[in-house]
Subunit: 327 residues, 2 copies
């Protein structure tokens, strides 16, 4: 297996990307092609002892920044690391791409160069979030900020296939994220989407799910537009940090809290690990005709290694073929 | 001061509403008119010793349920508790209304019977959320699930007036909730709204704010459409419960965690109180030509008492007059 890694994408590139790639190559024995500025990547690589036969560099001279307009950036920067990585996948030199760079640019490059699976109008970013008893697949996380009902319906079909075939859930429970459980609730988009999902015989639609129930594990798959999905995930991160900061302040100000924190430390660490976004660093550009994994923009080396693991699992499970066959 | 309370609205009505009203009448020495089914209310009232001169019942025979379609319900149920309460405000028999019932029905009744402040096309639900150092005003929380850029702009103007005049912030920092900080990021709505807010000389617009920064206190006022606002608040509640449940499980399974939790208990209680939605039970239907306070649908008696306090403060500060004058 051979994977292309966009070494220049994300807030912590290239350092975290290179470190994560070195660890992944060692841990999973896969070939990794680091795409980006050769000197910068080599400089980072020199910090580690790494398997020469598994890690190579593919030079790309340009970088797309996080705040660049995706379409313009992809069109102007043909030699950007993400574009070059995507083209390695297009020409079948690699089996998958991993990037934590500008999501819009990633999706744009994947759409322009690799294209969609036949019948899918809008690929979505899908991720697994930890819930009370299990994990829930959540899409779209931010690829499509303006959606039509049929797009959300297609997300549900793709999610259904992925959950059935890869996660092994016989009849995945699919819910529509909404501001109320009742059929009448919601905005124009969710109101119309509800009808489509309800009418479908392809999926096991269990109705609307409210924000408060996202983490209960009541649904195997939760469908929403990319604006709302992205907002929720980022708000969740922020709330986690916020609670952590309040707790730190309490511990600083009270000797009892300090003692309590010492005893509770292993538990707090487990909780932190459980909800740590970095532990779930990988997401899937679902609907693209090739395996494209998106790591978080602030992914550290651990998150990046996990994203590479998701790529490996996706290749192993032949996800693209399964979606094509089932769609 | 005389306040109308919708005694039949919300998941915990009439019990929690009546209990909260009795406590508020005692604590704040205000007259409270409990609106709804006389026998049911009296049955609850009989559980308490209460000031007869401050608490009275105004009978209304019908109840609008949480899952009813707002417009149809308000048109069909003329004698519903929320409609009757709103009409007491319309006819100036009371100074404000408080309800934790069906938000859509509340807003519909307020719009039909009392109407908007001149120049405001869409009233919004505004609330104050606790942030790192202070509080941030957040609107719309769910009154308008489909918005146009001009509506969000009007929310910013109303919020600006409220924060200046009532909260005493000289130049309130106003931010637009978005999925990225950059001007180019967002969906059609936020992209167009950004331009409007940026061009305005009325407000101190500080740009986009991401979900992860909502609780940092970076903005005094955060503007979004009601779908996103409602989603975020409910997700936040759910995430809080979720983390609490994980912590409980840890404490149950480990003797060290148990000891830690005992020492940390006062801190955890303070944190819980700090982030408790019930502590911030009141919100404002901002833009309605009268003071209408919305309590949370699951408001308990404490939350309801707090919502009544928000109503009292709003009357004291002559909020409607100030918005009218400043707009």
């Amino acid at each position: 297996m051979r994977l292309a890694v966009d070494a220049m994408g994300g807030d912590n590139a290239p350092a975290a990307v290179v470190e994560g790639s070195v660890k992944a190559a060692k841990a999973y024995k896969v070939e990794i092609v680091l795409v980006g500025r050769k000197d910068d990547i080599q400089h980072e690589l020199n910090k580690y002892s790494y398997p020469n036969d598994l890690i190579s560099i593919h030079h790309a001279s340009e970088i797309i920044l996080m705040d660049e307009s995706p379409v313009a950036a992809i069109k102007q920067k043909k030699d950007s690391s993400i574009n070059v990585a995507i083209n390695l996948l297009k020409t079948k030199q690699v089996d998958a791409v991993i990037s934590s760079g500008n999501t819009g640019a990633y999706m744009t490059s994947a759409l322009l160069n690799i294209g969609r699976i036949h019948g899918i109008e809008r690929p979505a970013i899908a991720t697994l979030i930890p819930t009370h008893n299990s994990k829930t697949m959540f899409l779209d996380m931010g690829a499509n900020v303006d959606c039509k009902p049929k797009h959300l319906y297609q997300f549900s079909l793709m999610g259904n296939v992925f959950a059935k075939e890869v996660l092994g859930i016989a009849h995945p429970k699919i819910a529509l994220l909404n501001i109320g459980e009742e059929e009448e609730k919601g905005n124009e988009l969710t109101f119309a989407t509800y009808k489509l999902l309800k009418a479908s015989k392809e999926i096991n639609f269990i109705g609307n799910i409210e924000g408060k129930d996202v983490l209960t594990g009541r649904a195997d798959i939760i469908i929403c537009d990319g604006f709302v999905g992205n907002m929720l995930l980022k708000f969740g991160e922020g709330l986690g940090l916020y609670l952590g900061n309040i707790l730190k302040k309490e511990i600083k100000n009270s000797i009892f809290a300090k003692i309590g924190a010492i005893f509770l430390y292993p538990s707090l660490q487990r909780i932190r690990k459980f909800i740590d976004y970095d532990e779930y660093g990988g997401a899937l550009l679902l609907g693209i005709n090739g395996i494209c994994i998106k790591a978080h923009g602030r992914a550290n080396e651990k998150a990046f290694q996990n994203a590479i693991k998701v790529a490996i699992d996706s290749v192993d499970h032949k996800i693209i073929d399964i979606i094509k066959k089932s769609y």
